[in-house]
Structure formats: structure tokens, C-alpha cells
């Protein structure tokens, strides 16, 4: 009952040739993990800082506005958009559509392009460059 399954496991990340499909697939898991562990922790901290008062909010702002903080937030923004577009692709794939080789590859690449563009656009507006 408690013995690990002795079957050989797929060493897919280390052995198979990399392609857009598998890259987007593993990125979906990595970005989802980062959004949950880091992103939701920051969300809880941000809300607590707002509720806590001016001093605690200033503290949050100082850390979030620090270059290292901005890199983390920008990384999370990209993780969000990558997971978002990849997630929408998964919902479409769940209907049984989009498995043709070229179409599947095309939309995998599009999630990568879309996430980079959307990240740039988000920060363009967030920093008020477009206002």
C-alpha cells in the first residue's frame, strides 16, 4: 500500500526535444505554482497593508516599489498572462478542438507572444505612461 509505484516514470523534460507545446505545458504548471504561492501571498499582504493603516501601506509600497520588488511584480504579471492565455487554450483543448499539429503549435506560440505583449501593455498603463 505504501510502497512507491515501481513503474518507470516519463523523463520527458530531460529527454524529449523541446517544442512550443511542451514548453507552454510546463510553463502553465510553473506559472500557476508561482501565482499561487507568491502571487496570492502578496495579495493577502497587500490587503492586510491597506487595512492596517497608512504606515503599513507605506511599508508595502516601499518594498513593492523597490527595483527588486518591481521585478517580482513584473514577473508575476507575465506569469499571470501566460497562465491566463495558456488556460484559455486548455479550455478550448478540453472541448476536443485544436489538436491538429500546426494549429496546436500555432496557439502554443501565440500564448507566449500574447503574454509578453499583455505584460508590456499592463505596465505601460499601470505606470501611467499612456495617460
Amino acid at each position: 500500500m505504501n510502497t512507491p509505484n515501481p513503474r518507470p516514470l516519463s523523463p520527458h523534460l530531460t529527454v524529449w526535444r523541446w517544442g512550443p507545446g511542451m514548453l507552454v505545458s510546463i510553463l502553465h504548471r510553473i506559472t500557476g505554482g508561482a501565482l499561487t504561492v507568491v502571487g496570492l501571498a502578496i495579495l493577502a499582504w497587500w490587503l492586510a497593508a491597506i487595512a492596517g493603516g497608512d504606515e503599513s501601506y507605506a511599508k508595502f509600497n516601499a518594498i513593492a516599489g523597490h527595483p527588486a520588488g518591481l521585478i517580482v511584480l513584473a514577473g508575476l504579471t507575465w506569469a499571470f498572462w501566460q497562465h491566463f492565455f495558456s488556460g484559455v487554450r486548455h479550455i478550448v483543448l478540453d472541448t476536443g478542438a485544436g489538436y491538429e499539429l500546426k494549429i496546436n503549435r500555432f496557439w502554443a506560440v501565440m500564448t507566449l507572444a500574447g503574454s509578453l505583449l499583455a505584460t508590456a501593455a499592463t505596465w505601460y498603463f499601470l505606470l501611467g505612461v499612456g495617460k
Binding site: 505504501n2 510502497t3 496570492l40 501571498a41 487595512a51 497608512d54
Partner: protein
Amino acid sequence: MSLGESATPLGKVEGLGSSHHGGHHWLEERFTSVALVLLSLWLIFSLIMLPVLDRQMVGEWLHSAWGAVPMALFIITAFKHGVDGLKVAVDDYVHQDGNRIAIHYLLDMAGIAGAAVSLFALARIAFGAAAA
């Protein structure tokens, strides 16, 4: 467990897969993902639309029902979806039942604790005096 040829199609696949229980969680993760498409876009656009992100502006936004209610829904749905996703990853990489169940349990506790802290903070903002 095998009933051979007499098993129904459902009976043949039940309990298979790395989580050993089936479609309910799979569906639930899709339901929360569809809700999060709307809620996460709402959050991003709300943050962009706020003229500044100082405490007074953010406080006023979350003090109104238009800010507080979707934010509460986002907190609940995002923590649920996040914990569900981490559990799926654990199912794939942790093969010993005892460890797998223990990690699931810890993930549930962490997720519920995180959601409770977030909701409590949101309630203080929403029901507190309007931001000074």
C-alpha cells in the same frame, strides 16, 4: 478491484489517474478557471483604471460594493483554484499515499488560512470608516 469484462465503462476507469479519484475535481478546476477569467481581468483593469494606487484611492475602491464584492469572489476563487492546481502537481510527483494525503491537507490548510486573512483584511477595508 478488476471486474474484468463485466465492469461498466465507468467502473473500468474509476480510481485511475494519479489522484485516484476522478472527474469532480477536474471539473471544479475548470469552473473556477472560467470564473477567474472574468474576475482576474476585472482586477487588472480596475488597478489600471484607478488614477493612483495610494492607500486612500485603493481604500475607497474596496470600500464600495463594486470593489469589495468582486474582490471577495476573486479571493475565494483564486485560493480554491490555486490549491486545486498545486494538488494536481503533488499527485503527479508524490507517489507515496501517506505523503500525498498529508501534503494535500497542508495545502488545504494554507489555502484556507490565506483566504481567511485576505477576506478579513477586505472586510476591515469594506466595513471600516471610509478611507480618511
